[in-house]
Amino acid sequence: MTTRDENILEVCNLRTHFRTDDGLVKAVDGVSFSVKRGETLGIVGESGSGKSVTCLSAMQLVPRPPASHPTGEIYFGNTDLLGLTEHEIEKLRGERLAMIFQDPLTSLNPYLTIARQLTEVLEVHRGATPTAARRTSIEMLERVGIPDAAERIDQYPHQFSGGMRQRVMIAMALLCGPEVLFADEPTTALDVTIQAQILELIKDLQTAIGTAVVLVTHDLGVVAGTTDRVAVMYAGRIVEEGTTAEVFANPQHPYTRGLLESMPRIDTPLQKTLYAIPGLPPDLGNLPTGCPFHPRCGLATDQCRKTYPDSKTVSSTHRASCWEVEANE
């Protein structure tokens, strides 16, 4: 196990629940993971599994209500983010913690020029003068690959293409050199050739700045190519977690194995039919008892239908929550 010194982020038993008309939705229900300085952790899972809410909880951006205050701990260095006041977390956001989204318009204001939005970050967090802020902003836009940055900085978000807006948002998120970047499906809406550009960009900037990245995606291919470690989420919990190499080489949870087998791949001989995980993703407002994956699992036993499995150690850097996994203590 690693110590808190190496970990820039340590999430312990995080729970974020929503009160909705359909009852209590346990969007995140006992999630624990850590991220080391400069490393990339992938969070993968189907839609509704709680990936975004996990990141938003750390940033304290979950709307309350309908969410209740998240419980558990999220250590950023020695600070528990969940214990901070709105004012205190505000100071960290944009400077030491940053987040980018699938839709750049979530973080870009459509009514303000790119210049206004970027320089404001620097003026507020860094006390930069307007001239210096503008210069730094243009440099950052150039770094993320915006052509003619000195002119385009005075344009509005809608004057940029989807891929270019994504770059602008990355520029804004990285302006102050954050220690942790939450990237929530940053390439899901983009074409593969643009996705490759953006992932490469995030990697390059990460190396240069030393930012730790939490990369949320539903694409195991993206996880394989860009992350050091991966956490697989299902129904608000992490069902498997480990180094990317171990999880792909030796997946333990039937859900992880199912996801891997159900992906069509260009690098393997064609199979006539793909393996398809049977059934439907779970309804979080109405979860089955025991392991929430059991209705879709070929290995399910009575025990799985009754009790949620503990996390089992596969290796010192790999764990999985499944009754069928042989623990390797």
Partner: protein, 341 residues
């Protein structure tokens, strides 16, 4: 199956298909200031009976417009679409200022259908599944009364749904189930040709595999000819016999699916392939990746010469001036690139 033509003729033959859209230029509301978008610009391909052709390319390259023009859901500006030996691009008539289908095209609707990316958008939220599925049957007066209900039950079972769900509304279903309902509706009239426009793009990974398997199964069972549109090359390769790669309104390479993956010749196909993530960290690390610079230009102002030259790592002078023609370089393998021998 109601295929009537000779089995050795292609079911579909598309040549030099073009579709232009007139759009107002930026900031102007006057029609004199409008510009033409060449959404599809000289696309040719043919499809054998029972074949699946995959159409792949990045968003905005003209895939949907091609699919819609093949079905005559949009009137082609130029070119021929021959379906079962009939020139269906001619099956239009002018009504006042507008072009409308003539009766021959209306009849063909039974044989040519479409499946959409977002099944919710194509399903009326206020109609039950039964009404949604009986609509095409009623329009074409195929079956009545109790027979109609039996037909609907049968359709739902064909797509792997419980027939008892007939009385429910679209919003009560998950994305994958809604797509199944969309497929059932496309199958209602017993078509032999289907355009599936990104049918799995909006679905979860575990559900994508279910729908791909369903489509393959139906295609075999019903003898469907399928034009499968997607931007995901791995998915396309899985379901298609042949693949056509589109870029900026044109097909730049066409070959059987395995050849596209094993021996891509066009630099764009090569780049597209190298950008497809592989779920294997060891392979990802050792991969040579061609990361393309820039983005696909707008079809309002397409570049001169080869449409890909602005991003092509190998472009030469000739590429900037001369449009490369589609050439056959091997049996069944066509490429439009000056640099391919």
């Amino acid at each position: 199956m109601n295929t009537t033509g000779k089995p050795d003729t292609p079911l579909l033959d598309v040549s030099d298909l073009a579709v232009e859209f007139r759009v107002p230029s930026r900031g102007s509301v006057f029609s004199e200031d409008s510009k033409d978008i060449k959404a599809v610009d000289g696309v040719s391909f043919s499809m054998a009976r029972g074949e699946t052709l995959g159409l792949v390319g990045e968003s905005g390259c003209g895939k949907s417009t091609t699919g819609r023009a093949v079905l005559q859901l949009v009137r082609p500006t130029r070119g021929h679409v021959v379906f079962d030996e009939e020139p269906i691009h001619e099956f239009w008539r002018k009504k006042g200022q507008k072009w409308v289908w003539d009766h021959r095209l209306l009849d063909l609707r039974r044989r040519m259908q479409m499946i959409f990316q977002d099944p919710f958008a194509s399903l009326n939220p206020r109609m039950t599944v039964e009404t949604i599925l009986s609509e095409p049957l009623r329009n074409f007066d195929v079956v009545q009364g109790t027979q109609r209900r039996e037909k609907i039950q049968h359709l739902l079972m064909t797509v792997g749904m419980d027939p008892r769900c007939m009385r429910r509304y679209p919003h009560e279903f998950s994305g994958g189930q809604r797509q199944r309902i969309g497929i059932a509706r496309a199958l209602a009239l017993g078509p032999d040709f289907i355009v599936a426009d990104e049918p799995i793009s909006a679905l979860d990974v575990s559900i994508q595999a279910q729908i791909m398997n369903l489509l393959s199964e139906l295609r075999e069972k019903l003898g469907l000819t399928l034009l499968f549109i997607a931007h995901d090359l791995a998915a396309i390769r899985h379901v298609s016999d042949r693949i056509a790669v589109m870029y900026l309104g044109r097909i730049v390479e066409l070959a059987d699916a395995q050849t596209i993956v094993d021996r891509p010749q066009h630099p764009y196909t090569q780049a597209l392939l190298s950008a497809v993530p592989i779920p294997d960290p060891t392979r990802e690390q050792s991969r040579q990746r061609t990361v393309l610079s820039g983005e696909m230009p707008s079809p309002i102002n397409p570049p001169s010469g080869c449409p890909f030259h602005t991003r092509c790592p190998f472009s030469e002078d000739r590429c900037r001036t001369e449009v490369p023609r589609m050439r056959t370089i091997d049996t069944g393998h066509q490429v439009a690139c000056h640099l391919v021998e």
